[in-house]
């Protein structure tokens, strides 16, 4: 019974932890601008993250090596360094976006300008990284993140023509008001939001922090196979809610508060309160994941001691990197950059950087010296993972030109 509870808790945490600032912004924006025409990308994206997160979790459980360790081993120090610089930079953008997201959600409640809240939020994020245990941190913010289920309630309350909704999603086309380029650009944004590299950095490092072993492989599978798709369902609910309520009124989403608008109008005050808690938890949880990821990637590339499973004294450089990253992100946020724009750039660039991170995972998950002969990838998994690698490379090539052509999707 206790075991079932543990697994259930893990799944709930995975659902609540799936959505972050990137998913909130990308799904709400595309719902308002493209209706359900990009819904299929969320599904493509979640299958990709399921495949690669499962592999990274399995490798971490079986040989105790997290992703960035493998990146340097398999790509060599040069490409590894290129990946480190790119991933670290993108991770900083994401961290900035998440911290701003937390501050924005708090400002909705307190009516204090979010810029004043950024230093306070940054301090809280650091404090949790410094003092709260890994399991506790994951559980609290993952479970609170479940408040985002209110988006599903919103869609249900609106009471759409379900057949129409599914038919729209199943027959995608480029809307008349948009070009093929903006369509592709926002497709990449959604894809990047679902497959952000920090997710595998954090997931695999977290597996090592939690001390996963062979026994936890089942839990790894269940968390990923059930938790992530349900998380993606939440993302789709966000998309559907803005599609149903904002698109007909030609309201575009360029502020975080507009993401909550459909909930407020369909479910009312209580709904608004719940969605604000959900947004707070989702962005706060992701702020923790990205600040720790900043430390993980640097420490793992250079072979330093890392992690928060023991006292900060035993991993001092790691904690310095985490702390400096939080400070740098907060300072960047304080310059008044548009948090929604930062989020967009972070997820689009994420998509471009993915191949260098996912390729080593695929190689190692096939190496019996790391995972043992009975736990290497099966043929089917390899086929799917290889297809994704090809998609990732194509996306990586297309990203920057699309960014220029569409002027950042505007």
């Amino acid at each position: 019974m206790k075991k079932v509870l543990g697994v259930a808790l893990g799944v709930l945490t995975a659902i609540g932890g799936f959505v972050d600032m990137g998913d909130l912004v990308a799904n709400a924006e595309t719902g308002a601008r493209f209706d359900m025409n990009l819904a299929w990308v969320v599904i493509v994206g979640v299958i990709g993250i399921v495949v690669y997160a499962e592999m990274s979790g399995r490798v971490a459980a079986l040989c105790g090596r997290p992703v960035f360790d493998l990146v340097r081993e398999r790509l060599g120090p040069r490409f590894g360094m290129a990946n480190l610089l790119a991933s670290f930079f993108i991770n900083m953008l994401t961290l900035t976006a998440e911290i701003a997201g937390v501050a924005l959600s708090l400002s909705l409640v307190s009516s204090v300008n979010y810029l004043f809240l950024i230093p306070f939020v940054a301090f809280l994020v650091w404090l949790v990284c410094w003092r709260m245990s890994f399991v506790m941190m994951e559980r609290i913010f993952g479970l609170l993140g479940l408040c985002l289920v209110v988006f599903a309630v919103t869609v249900w309350k609106i009471g759409p023509d379900w057949n129409q909704l599914f038919s729209d999603a199943a027959h995608p086309h480029v809307p008349h008001s948009e070009t093929v380029f903006t369509y592709a650009y926002f497709g990449i944004a959604l894809f990047g939001a679902a497959m952000t590299p920090y997710e595998v950095f954090f997931f695999s490092s977290g597996a090592v922090e939690d001390g996963w072993t062979r026994k936890d492989l089942g839990e790894n599978k269940i968390n990923v196979l059930i938790g992530f798709p349900l998380g993606a369902a939440l993302s789709l609910a966000i998309m559907a809610s803005t599609h149903l309520l904002l698109a007909p009124r030609h309201i575009s989403v360029d502020q975080l508060s507009q993401v909550a608008l459909p909930v407020a109008s369909a479910v009312g005050r209580l709904g608004l309160a719940v969605v604000i808690i959900g947004i707070f938890a989702a962005t706060f949880g992701a702020a923790l994941e990205t600040s720790l990821s900043a430390g993980y990637v640097v420490a793992q590339y250079l072979g330093w001691p890392w992690g928060k499973h023991s006292a900060p004294r035993t991993a001092s450089r790691f904690h310095v990197v985490v702390m400096m990253s939080i400070i740098a992100a907060a300072l960047f946020g304080l310059t008044g950059v548009d948090p929604v724009k930062v989020t967009e750039y972070s997820i689009v660039l994420s998509a471009a950087a993915l191949p260098l991170t996912y390729f080593p995972i695929l190689v190692i998950a096939n190496d019996p010296r790391y995972v043992g002969p009975e736990h290497t990838n099966g043929r089917f998994l390899n086929a799917v993972a290889s297809v994704y690698l090809v998609i990732l490379v194509l996306v990586a090539i297309a990203t920057i030109p699309l960014m220029i052509i569409t002027k950042g999707g505007s």
């Binding site: 090596r65 060599g76 120090p77 590894g80 360094m81 709260m132 506790m136 072979g303 001092s316």
Partner: protein, 150 residues
């Protein structure tokens, strides 16, 4: 890699490929000290020629500030990192059994996803910066010495 302790390139050329492959498998691996602490990566390898037989063999694992930069051809960066590290390493130890960026291959154990080396992390140059950040930054922050609340 069943014979992890056999570092010499064998006379038989057909099996030489396997050993060279092993060399590839060594570089950039995670090192662990005798207490299981993470203590850097295999940044480079020292290859020595046996004077008598003319055989080449791996004589040491090199790791520490500057080593990786040298391997990547960044000599100036390598020197700068070495110099920077010399400054933070304020308590030189004199009775080390080896140079601080060089781990004799005899001290390396089984090669797997990680390589265990029979040294103490404090004797390695990779750990100087860790100690420096500990004494100058981390130790001054309350709560640094205990595990997080469960």
């Amino acid at each position: 890699m069943s014979e992890a302790s056999d570092w010499r390139v064998p006379d038989n050329p057909t099996s030489a490929g396997r050993v060279l492959h092993a060399t590839l498998d060594l570089l950039d691996r995670q090192l662990r000290d005798r207490n299981g602490k993470l203590c850097g990566n295999v940044d480079d390898l020292e290859i020595t020629r046996d004077e008598e037989t003319g055989q080449m063999f791996i004589s040491a694992i090199l790791c520490g500030p500057g080593v990786l930069a040298y391997r990547m051809g960044r000599r100036r960066l390598g020197r700068w990192l070495e110099e920077a590290n010399r400054r933070v390493h304020d308590t030189p130890r004199h009775h080390e059994p080896f140079e601080r960026t060089r781990i004799p291959i005899e001290l390396a154990g089984q090669v797997g996803p990680t390589i265990d080396v029979a040294v103490d992390i404090d004797d390695l140059a990779t750990h100087d910066m860790e100690r420096w950040t500990l004494t100058h930054v981390i130790r001054h922050i309350p709560g640094s010495g205990s595990r997080a609340n469960q």
